[in-house]
Symmetry: C2
Subunit: 417 residues, 2 copies
């Protein structure tokens, strides 16, 4: 490895892959960064694209533009098809790519708990394509409700179900009820959008299960005050087109059913030949490498790890970012001839979820806060981490304008083409 230029292949340009490339600066190494998309997506704001608050380019940044001044980084738009750890090769769109180090950062995907057929009836929210589909179908349902004369059909069109009471589900439910109760309020003549229903279904006893109990309670009360029907301890028995079946026999008829319940690791983790957990995540060593392949690292939502303090590292973006920096440090040290592989140590900076206008919950260390203060904290943190100065200003403007006018900037129905 000393003889030739070390080549690092990074799979995925999410928070993990992007941060790795940003941290890893070595004069003699070359990096190949592979992603299926041409952009890094700021996933925490994706629900706002789905609910017409922001436009897609505002939360996405072209990967090439991010690294245009890093000639040693080659960006490849392509699909990873296979990984041969024995020969140190990755197959991208049929073409083998040799690596000395592999950083696997392909993240997660929507998981339907063994019911892949539900994907058709209840889209998840992982990509801009997903967000556009949801935006189109939600806006279209209101248009069709305005046109129909059938009362039952109208009720169905104006009912939205969100499955999953984690941060994404809570944020979606809050944004959807605001869309119907406030944004669309005066826009229709035959229907009254404030009569629409948003139902949030969660299997466990409370929303935001990873948060302290008081914050879960606050989130629930806030959502209910806004008009969301919250059903905890409710598991979905079956999904059909426009229908949610509950164990007690209840059938909820809803044109739009959104899935925010489960995430599993990228299917490609299976190609690594390493032990996986039930969600398909790789059980990595304490330094984030594979048990038999010290040159292969798995970071972000694709790995499962308990850090050196015995803490289960959650599948959130700060963890992916910290893991990326850890791996970058290890590889840099090795290339400089100082091999040291300290175990990964996760620093929990806290967590936050927004519920709606002036309402959020946040926890930072021992401090918890809710309401307007938490909402402002949420806004500031999300703006700071959004990649790109242009996008920061653009998003700030959209939020400011929406806050003042109760309007949303991206209520545009664009058909499939």
């Amino acid at each position: 490895m000393e003889q030739r230029t070390p080549r690092i292949v990074v799979l995925g340009a999410g928070f993990g892959g992007l941060t790795f490339c940003q941290s890893f600066k070595h004069p003699g190494a070359e990096i190949l960064l592979v992603d299926r998309q041409n952009h890094h997506l700021f996933q925490p704001l994706l629900y706002q694209v789905a609910t017409a608050g922001l436009s897609a380019p505002e939360i996405a940044q072209p990967i090439r533009a991010i690294f245009h001044d890093r000639p040693e980084i080659q960006v490849r738009l392509g699909t990873v098809e296979d990984i041969h750890t024995a020969t140190r090769e990755v197959i991208v769109d049929g073409k083998p790519e040799r690596y000395d180090y592999l950083v696997f950062a392909l993240g997660g995907r929507t998981s339907y708990f063994g019911h892949p057929e539900w994907a058709e009836f209840a889209p998840g929210l992982k990509s801009l394509e997903d967000a556009h589909r949801i935006r189109r179908e939600v806006l279209d349902a209101f248009e069709r409700a305005e046109n129909t004369d059938d009362e039952a059909e109208r009720r169905r069109l104006m009912t939205l179900v969100v499955i999953g009471g984690g941060p994404t589900g809570v944020e979606l439910a809050g944004a959807l009820i605001e869309l119907s109760r406030q944004v669309l309020r005066r826009d229709f003549r035959r229907i009254d959008p404030t009569q629409s229903r948003v139902i949030l279904i969660e299997g466990s006893p409370r929303l935001l299960a990873q948060f302290p109990e008081e914050l879960s309670q606050n989130a629930r009360e806030t959502l209910e005050k806004m008009g969301v029907e919250v059903r905890t301890e409710t598991r979905v028995k079956d999904l059909q087109r426009g229908k949610v079946l509950l164990p007690d026999g209840t059938v909820i008829e809803a044109e739009n059913i959104l899935w925010a319940a489960g995430v599993s690791a990228s299917a490609l983790t299976a190609k690594l030949g390493a032990p996986l957990d039930r969600a398909g995540r790789v059980l990595v060593k304490p330094d984030l490498s594979l048990p038999d392949h010290p040159e292969v690292f798995v970071i972000g939502d694709a790995c499962s790890i308990v850090d050196c303090d015995g803490q289960i590292v959650p599948g959130v973006s700060p963890a992916a970012i910290q893991e990326a920096k850890h791996v970058s440090r290890i590889i840099l040290d090795e290339l400089e001839g100082h091999p040291a592989r300290p175990p990964f140590d996760y620093w929990d900076k806290g967590s936050m979820a927004t519920i709606g206008r002036s309402a959020a919950v946040a926890k930072m260390g021992p401090i918890q806060f809710t309401g307007f203060l938490a909402w402002i904290a949420w806004l500031v943190v999300h703006l700071l981490f959004l990649v790109g100065f242009r996008n920061k200003v653009a998003v700030l403007w959209q939020w400011f304008y929406s806050y003042l006018t109760y309007r949303r900037g991206a209520r545009i129905l664009i058909r499939k083409v």
Copy 2:
């Protein structure tokens, strides 16, 4: 008509239909505004969405939001299927809608001069769907060029042809050459985007045929200095996938072929039972109504008219706006019992086309100007006419940032879903 509420059906929410609804304020009348899209589209900036400068929501405004405080206006998202002038009915998605006055403002569509099969190989630019398709295909071609090892294939992928040298063609060609020569310049490692070709083909002897000859000449010189290959007096003999065939036997191989050559009226003009010109436009009376139906008006790109000064009214947005106001005045007068049907008088405010960064051509009455001054005039006029304060600020910010950084805000590849 005095007994019941007069009902005005407006077809199309482009410049004509929108302006009509904005001007027509009568306490006793009700308006039904029908459009296939949920938004009014600011077409003059559509080429910037196609070339990744702006995002779709920045140049579109939800129709319902525009008229949310006008309860007498009902907005219908739907497709007009038929028009029965004898019984005064319009069929929208199978449902008849009665009218007392009909304002037909369905605009134009891309026309392929009798070769509808070309649409598949050379998309036109009339809707946000079109713009997204072009953006996706252009950005994707550069990505594929970076991946291929075949030199001829790479050249084909990096060649763009724009057919039609009117304002849209000139603006597209200028924006595409800037995209490759400046925006993408440092973003690839294996290809050199500045080696890409943009070819602008025009059948007549000069670009911007409606402009004074000096401005046409200036536009051509500016484009050529930027790197565009301009071919005037060149008609396309045939189009195939990725191939443009010229009469002299030349075959241009180009992955992206964009069509900006022809516009004809909406196909629905045929349903009006009135005489049409060759482009399908209705030959209306001097007051813009149908020869046999004084209660039916046709405005915008769907009508053909010589105004009271003998001037041929061009198919541009200021004409549609003026026609809409004229018709609004006529109907208001009639409802108030003062029937008067003055002929339409077109006021030519001038015309302008942007070519690229700091370059445009403009004509206002006897005054002509080019370069930076014309470009600033173009920016100001387009910002002023863009609907919505939110969009004005958002677009201004995108332009300002792009001007300073040579970057573009919407370089996002979103797949079909």
